[in-house]
Symmetry: C2
Subunit: 383 residues, 2 copies
DNA sequence: TGCACTTTCGCAACAGCGTTGCCAAAGTGG
DNA sequence: CCACTTTGGCAACGCTGTTGCGAAAGTGCA
């Protein structure tokens, strides 16, 4: 590690703690304790952050016998990122500030089959609208890390825009931002979505699977118990997929193929799935949903979740997606019962892994997509 | 990150590259390229390492028109670690040098039911024999990182002993080094193995599951394609378990429970397992083994491995354990066929995940246990 | 054989990081 | 009002990796 890298590493570390502290703020001494740095070093770092407009003083704590601690907080409006959720028939674009709060949103219908040009145009227009509408008049620079391209280009006056994150279902290559196969739309096969969009918008673009984006967003929002922990986001909608956060980072695998939860085989001689296997969870679970048997769907989902929990020893299971939204309590209870029974039989210390409904509802993917750009600023390497 | 932390971080990084270069060695300029540091920084770092006796010059490369590069290599005998594989009926202790090469070994029968005192005594004696027998006369200091306790204490004249790693089957707490339940031996429940052994031997002790140790050892030995990659080690012996390496690090989970591969349910209405579930891979696979149907055992194992591969998008599957050793080709072929068929159906780019027999045979766990102490010296946080 | 050239590597000076020593600021409590 | 505690900034410092320059050690050509 380089000296320059060290500086930005520590700055990102402090910035991350400032964000996690939220509106409550955090004092310099607390930052020093948590980072392991000396108070003086924190003072220098926070001074640089304040110069750049990323941090500010925000009142004081009660005194404990001496000079009261000065509370520092993140300046959320010092930077923004756009998150795009590209689904088969819908487009959702959000603008979030550094805190992750949504400051603008836009939804529209979309036809993926209309061709690359039309879709790119629609996405670009929506991004421009959302970004420009909120950033008009804001001119304070928030030069990010090393890779900052600086604004001024495509998005009018948006000096504080970090970039655009795009999340979509299909198999794709996250590292290169290239789509593989989009079921039903062969013309998208191999399309370099990241570079095409980056050229149009003249800002950094990151592409990822929808489930990964959702998992990242949930990891950031703190619902999952802080950094360094592991959880799974199970998305039950038109399909069944998972986003995995392991040790605080989104795990994607070398081919961005991780999280293929739906085609886990749980019944060797089960019904044939369109993937070619027999007895995939997806077939069994969605079949039960189609029959209206939510209990069975939840039970099957629970068995598969149990396999995952046992394999990875994760801390929380979060459920999301349209199907879950239709009967959240039933799914949480059904999955929880399976996991609970398994934990009791195995005598796991600390009891069963908790099961919850993922917060943020339908916006979770779009918000997570925006975090693809923000996370690196806060010391989380998973972008 | 601290400045001191930065120094040891970079030193560990260089040391890791030196180890990976093996007997061939590596030049300063190559080290600079791979670490991203300037050649001068590498010169300083390697000078410190040479002062400590951890690195040495080893000849020169052919000139490419100028002064030929000086080749540096790790000095393997500058440090040693002991690896202990504690099985239900057997004890295996190895002494490895910094390169991971076994320089001494000792096997003995063991009765876990003989009680803590007797087992601790047997382990301590074996460790002393293996360590002292090889380190007699070696006195050069190899002060490791920060946590070095320094030798001189319990193990006679073993100034270069980094510590002792212990690997054993049962569920346990890796972070605290405490056993949970050892099936069939309730008196071990909650036993603080790490601290008890550390006190007896007066050297650092680390405790981990056998499958995790094996996975770490395999990650280090380079069979799995270098750092940063992911693989699964599937151990088929008296039970069926897995060791997972994700992104170059052993994934254990908060409760050291990760890798519970054998009780993955793959047949909802399958035969009852002793764990209480129905249709676990372990029951199905070991049942087929008992019937002598290796093909079916491999097929079932392949389905479960396919679930794992899909979920984590790993790069390699390594098979090990006594049962696999009995018919290695059959298992590799059987599992490979299932994974291959699945990859073809899904049109995965790059083809199916390769399946291989884990190298090092019966010693893989003991060698990996020793790596529990060596890995941190080489910049791999997974200890 | 001699010289020009290339490449490697170390010494010395340097900029920048976090650290230490010291002091002003801003509270509490007697 | 003063003693005391605690916070946070200023200046000097040690140490990090970096830059500038030169010695060392080869190759290749005249």
């Amino acid at each position: 590690m380089n000296l320059g890298a060290l500086r930005s590493h520590n700055a990102a570390l402090v910035l991350g703690l400032l964000r996690d502290a939220g509106a409550e703020g955090i004092s310099r001494l607390e930052l020093a304790e948590r980072t392991g740095l000396t108070p003086q070093a924190v003072s220098k770092i926070t001074a640089r952050l304040r110069e750049r407009g990323l941090a500010a003083e925000a009142g004081r704590r009660a005194s404990t016998g001496g000079k009261p601690r000065t509370v520092l907080r993140l300046v959320p409006e010092a930077g923004h990122a756009v998150g795009v959720h590209l689904d088969r028939d819908e487009l959702r674009v959000v603008l979030v500030d550094l805190d992750g709060a949504v400051v603008a949103e836009r939804c529209a219908e979309l036809d993926l089959g209309a061709g690359a040009e039309a879709v790119l145009g629609a996405v670009s227009a929506a991004v421009r609208t959302v970004a420009a509408g909120s950033l008009a008049g804001s001119g304070s620079p928030a030069a990010g890390g090393k890779g900052s391209t600086g604004g001024g280009g495509g998005l009018g006056g948006a000096g504080t825009l970090v970039g655009v994150g795009v999340a979509l279902p299909g198999p794709l290559d996250h590292a290169r931002g290239v789509l593989h196969r989009v079921t039903g739309f062969p013309e998208w096969d191999g399309f370099p979505l990241r570079d095409a969009l980056a050229q149009r918008l003249a800002v950094p673009v990151v592409v990822d699977k929808d489930t990964n984006a959702a998992a990242l967003g949930l990891a950031v929002c703190g619902e999952t118990g802080g950094a360094g922990r592991s959880f799974a986001y199970l998305h039950l909608g038109t399909g069944l997929g998972a986003g995995l956060v392991i040790g605080g980072s989104v795990h994607r695998g070398a081919r961005t193929g991780a999280g293929e939860f739906g085609h886990q085989v749980i019944q060797l001689d089960g019904p044939l799935c369109e993937c070619g296997n027999r007895g995939c969870v997806e077939v069994l679970c969605l079949g039960a949903v189609a029959r209206g048997d939510v209990g069975e769907a939840a039970r099957v989902l629970g068995v598969a979740a149990g396999n995952l929990v046992g394999l990875l020893d994760i801390d929380v299971v979060l459920l999301g997606g349209r199907t879950v939204a239709g009967a959240p309590e039933a799914y949480v209870r059904g999955v929880g019962e399976v996991l609970g029974a398994r934990a009791r039989r195995e005598g796991v210390r600390g009891g069963a892994v908790p099961v919850r409904v993922a917060p943020r509802g339908e916006r979770v993917v779009a918000e997570g997509a925006a975090q693809l750009l923000l996370a690196p600023l806060f010391g989380r390497g998973d972008a």
